[in-house]
């Protein structure tokens, strides 16, 4: 409670600061224009004009080229695969005025392509990004001119292009290093994410697309999100009936898979590191060997071992314990769902425990021995020492690992997909008994072509994992007391 009360005035204060900042920026902008040299004034309209005015020709030419380049794209709208960039791309974002087929000339065999709504959305967003970049460069060009003005005012010579480049290797080295990273993040991370989010508001699924034309779809507002509660979407009642069970199992799986592997690994590490145990290195090597085998091979091997004609079923049959094969991992419709769930958790322990064991071994070897000696002097038992020294120490260090492991298990595609394929399946639904949100998402998009519903599931998965990660991490000791361990 007290923290909430304290937070309120802070927020108000922050708001004031934001408005003040905006006001100051605007006033600075006006001042900059009024006080600027003719070159600076002109650079508000013609990029690089200020630089030309200060005889910084190369820099000015680069700014001007960028302006002309972006304006040319915006005006002339070059196209790729028949879909334009520029102002036409902004217009196309409405997904109106589309054509299904292209023109064909039987004499020459020339065929032009029809509209592609995916590219229309993508190029629309790229164009918006270009507009943002345009204003960024616009600001940079004005700032550059103002800097030259100021240099002149204090009697300094405006910097040359060579000096600017040298500055990039010195004072602005961080800018040089971070630029490719930022560009890569924008192109490979932000743009696809924005595109994926946009799809959640469209009719982009194989069924509707085929009705309209194979590459055509429309915006449909929040309908795909409503479908989670009403069942009136491209996935029918599946999204309504299976969303909560799949979400629930995803949580149960993530919790059990994380903690079984975590504590299993700690116990194993404790056993291996026990004083007096002979052949420690051999034990460690044996467990590390399971990591050396690619996970998908281990999982497929287990799938075969537990299969209908696999050795495990065969052994039970030979022993006379069963007559018909048991569907241990739910590969057939009608197989037991609880059994399949238990089996995936057990198999996951087999592939997951060695990782924790390896990490915990290192941590255990680094716990200061004087802590144990002091505890022993005070008369602490072995159990007490474990709970009061070992466990808190290990947890303190491994909390970030625990969180990333939990989130990783929410998105644990391999284990489920390779082992059970999400089965046992239920007629009428893509989501089987052991499907996680992420494997269901795969089936919904790849098998069913319901990309819009897939995007909705993706957004929900993101919100859940992001929320859990932030809350848990911010509340953990590893975050709050990162400098100390007590």
């Amino acid at each position: 409670m007290s923290s909430t009360k304290k937070a309120a005035p802070k927020t108000k204060e922050a708001r004031v600061t934001v408005f003040e900042r905006i006001g100051k920026k605007l006033s600075d902008f006006g001042k900059r224009f009024v006080d600027g040299s003719p070159g600076t004034k002109l650079s508000h309209f013609v990029f690089g004009a200020g630089n030309f005015y200060h005889k910084q020709y190369i820099k000015g030419a680069l700014f001007l080229l960028l302006q002309l380049g972006i304006l040319a794209v915006m005006i002339f709208c070059p196209s790729i695969n028949g879909t334009p960039y520029g102002w036409k791309a902004l217009k196309n974002l409405s997904l109106k005025n589309v054509t299904e087929g292209g023109d064909f000339d039987p004499m020459t065999g020339h065929l032009t392509v029809g509209s592609d709504c995916k590219l229309m959305i993508l190029f629309g967003f790229v164009t918006i990004a270009m507009i943002l970049i345009y204003f960024l460069i616009w600001n940079m060009n004005i700032k550059s001119s103002v800097k030259a003005d100021n240099d002149k005012r204090v009697g300094k010579k405006p910097t040359t292009f060579k000096e600017d480049l040298a500055e990039l290797l010195d004072g602005k080295f961080h800018v040089l290093m971070l630029t490719p990273t930022c560009i890569a993040a924008a192109v490979f991370s932000i743009l696809p994410t924005v595109f994926m989010i946009a799809l959640a508001f469209t009719t982009y699924n194989s069924q509707d697309m085929n009705d309209l034309g194979t590459n055509l779809f429309n915006w449909n507002g929040l309908q795909n999100f409503r479908a989670v509660f009403t069942g009136e979407g491209s996935l029918g009642f599946e999204i309504k009936n299976r969303f909560l069970p799949v979400l629930g199992w995803t949580f149960i799986w993530a919790i059990l898979a994380t903690f079984t592997c975590y504590f299993g690994g700690i116990i194993l590490a404790l056993l291996i590191n026990k004083k007096g145990l002979k052949g420690k290195k051999i034990f460690r090597t044996v467990f590390i060997l399971t990591i050396a085998v690619p996970q998908f091979i281990s999982l497929l091997a287990v799938r075969n071992i537990l299969g209908e004609y696999g050795p495990f079923n065969q052994m039970l049959k030979d022993m006379g314990l069963i007559k018909e094969s048991i569907g241990f991992i739910g590969l057939k419709p009608g197989d037991s769902e609880p059994l399949a769930k238990v089996m995936v958790i057990i198999v996951n322990m087999w592939v997951g425990i060695p990782y924790t064991m390896l990490m915990t071994s290192g941590i255990l070897m680094n716990i200061p021995t004087d802590l144990y000696e002091a505890a022993r002097v005070d008369g602490a038992s072995t159990v007490k020492m474990f709970f009061k020294i070992t466990l808190p120490y290990v947890i303190f260090i491994t909390t970030p690992y625990l969180i990333s492991s939990f989130v990783g298990n929410i998105n644990s595609f391999n284990t489920i997909f390779l082992l059970t394929g999400g089965g046992p399946t239920y007629t009428g639904y893509q989501a089987g008994g052991t499907d996680l949100l992420v494997t269901w998402l795969y089936k919904v998009t790849i098998d069913q072509g319901s990309y819009n519903t897939g995007a909705v599931i993706g957004i929900f998965t993101f919100l859940i994992t992001a929320t859990i990660t932030l809350i848990t991490y911010r509340r953990s000791k590893a975050y709050n007391e990162e400098d100390t361990f007590q």
């Binding site: 299904e100 087929g101 290797l169 085929n210 194979t214 004609y309 009608g334 007629t427 009428g428």
Partner: protein, 477 residues
């Protein structure tokens, strides 16, 4: 060090910029026509193409043939048509999708069109056209025929027993195993039951998008899945699947594990030519028998309450009778167009189809190929199993129809909208969702079977489940 890093960063930016600026230009004619065929046939077609160039010095192009997995090649092409070959091979079910996504261009050469119309059966001719801007064009040129047939374990099943489901059941009883399985539970494999035809007149009431227009969003034609014969077949299969020596769905370990001579999971499997090597590996060449999909007789329970079918009526398991086709990539250089059509005309000629049967066992698609196949066997040019592999497919083609997917939509509706899953649930007698979120738990009565079949037909036509069942389900088609 800093200069080095800066240089590295500048290089990365420059390369990214260049990569970003590349592509998107006009397709250039590089003097090579690239052809994608099935992996097993690549060497053969390269040889055939080399021979053609040697005999036609004025052809003017080099030809490069590459083997591709024909099952996934359509996806490869739609993902990036610019990277696909000039001429590629796909099963005919992909024509609608490839045409409507402008991954393929129409074929207009008159002599080639005439050859296609003269050589191919009418059933193929209905599925190789598609429309562009309202006009119908030929898109695919058939050159391989495909149909389902039966592989069986000759060590445990006699030739006579393999002719009927009842015979297989008898052999399975003796071997204490299941009689027959399929290679998957998808819409393609369930055709053996849904498309079964009456032996006496090869009739069925099942219709799949009959008369559908070959344009996206056009008429989906007529479908029917509710005839008395279909109801009776479902009931018969329900009983046959419940029998300890009857039908089983393919094991999750794979149908090969079922057929395997050591596992003895099932004595026979309904499959296609593409399963030949796996079936041979599972049984060994000497134990591998090949024949038509067997016949079965309707039982008293199967026809109970039905007026147009009788107990004892004999049906043969059905199949989709498909063809593989050559198509021209829409992104191929315009200047190659005429030569591409010339090359396809040659590659799809009867002569080359015959050669491809002899050398790589591709079953010819043209009308009358059965005579040539028989002649080859009689002349000792092919082994018995190689002959049966082709002869069974040619014979089964008479009992089948081409797969239903003139447009991408029908393909999706038939395969991906739960129709096959509902059919499996009906046969397994397990519960399944029907209208809205209602679950049908009773699956054996006549009413529930009619409901299930209505549901399947509705899914075929609309891609979604109906909001409710009609007040009165049709008593017959």
């Amino acid at each position: 060090m800093r200069k080095l890093l800066a240089l590295l960063v500048a290089s990365i930016l420059a390369v990214s910029l260049l990569a970003g600026c590349s592509g998107g230009g006009k397709v250039k004619d590089d003097g090579v026509i690239r052809v994608w065929v099935g992996e097993e046939s690549a060497e053969f077609y390269q040889k055939i193409c080399d021979e053609y160039i040697a005999a036609h010095a004025d052809f003017g192009y080099k030809i490069e043939v590459k083997g591709m997995d024909t099952g996934s090649v359509a996806g490869t092409i739609t993902n990036d048509p610019t990277a696909a070959a000039d001429i590629y091979t796909v099963a005919h079910d992909n024509i609608g999708k490839l045409a409507s996504t402008q991954c393929a261009k129409p074929i207009v050469d008159e002599s080639l069109v005439s050859q296609v119309l003269a050589d191919n059966p009418e059933s193929f001719q209905t599925v190789i056209y598609s429309t562009l801007n309202g006009k119908e064009y030929l898109y695919g040129v058939p050159y391989i025929s495909q149909a389902l047939f039966l592989y069986y374990n000759k060590a445990l099943v006699t030739e006579e027993q393999a002719k009927t489901f009842e015979g297989l059941q008898e052999a399975a009883k003796a071997a204490n195993t299941k009689a027959i399985t399929v290679t998957g539970d998808d819409g393609f494999n369930m055709s053996f039951a849904l498309l079964a035809r009456k032996v006496s007149d090869k009739s069925t009431t099942v219709k799949l998008f009959e008369g559908a227009e070959s344009v996206s969003g056009g008429s989906k034609g007529k479908s029917n899945c509710q005839g008395d014969d279909t109801v009776a077949i479902v009931r018969w299969l329900q009983d046959f699947a419940s029998d300890p020596n009857g039908f089983k769905w393919a094991s999750p370990d794979g149908w090969e594990a079922d057929l395997n001579k050591d596992n003895k999971g099932a004595l026979a499997v309904i499959g296609g030519a593409w399963h030949y090597n796996s079936a041979k590996a599972a049984l060994g060449e000497t134990n591998l028998g090949i024949t038509l999909i067997p016949t079965f007789k309707l039982t008293d329970r199967a026809v109970e309450g039905l007026s147009t079918v009788k107990a004892g009526d004999e049906y043969r398991g059905g199949t989709f009778a498909d063809c593989k086709c050559f198509m021209i990539n829409a992104n191929s250089a315009v200047s190659k167009y005429a030569k591409e059509q010339e090359l396809i005309k040659y590659l799809s000629s009867k002569d080359v189809q015959n050669k491809s049967y002899l050398e790589v066992l591709n079953v010819p698609a043209y009308v009358g190929a059965a005579d040539y196949i028989k002649q080859c066997f009689e002349e000792g040019k092919v082994s018995e199993s190689e002959y049966m592999l082709a002869a069974s497919q040619v014979s089964m083609a008479e009992w089948g129809i081409p797969q239903p997917f003139i447009t991408g939509t029908l393909n999706t509706y038939y395969y991906s909208k739960n129709g096959p899953a509902v059919f499996r649930a009906m046969i397994d007698k397990t519960a399944y969702p029907t209208t809205g979120d209602q679950i049908l738990t009773e699956t054996e009565s006549l009413e529930s079977i009619r409901k299930g079949l209505y549901l399947i037909e509705y899914l075929w036509m609309h891609g979604v489940t109906p909001s409710e069942f009609p007040a009165k389900l049709p008593e017959e088609a």
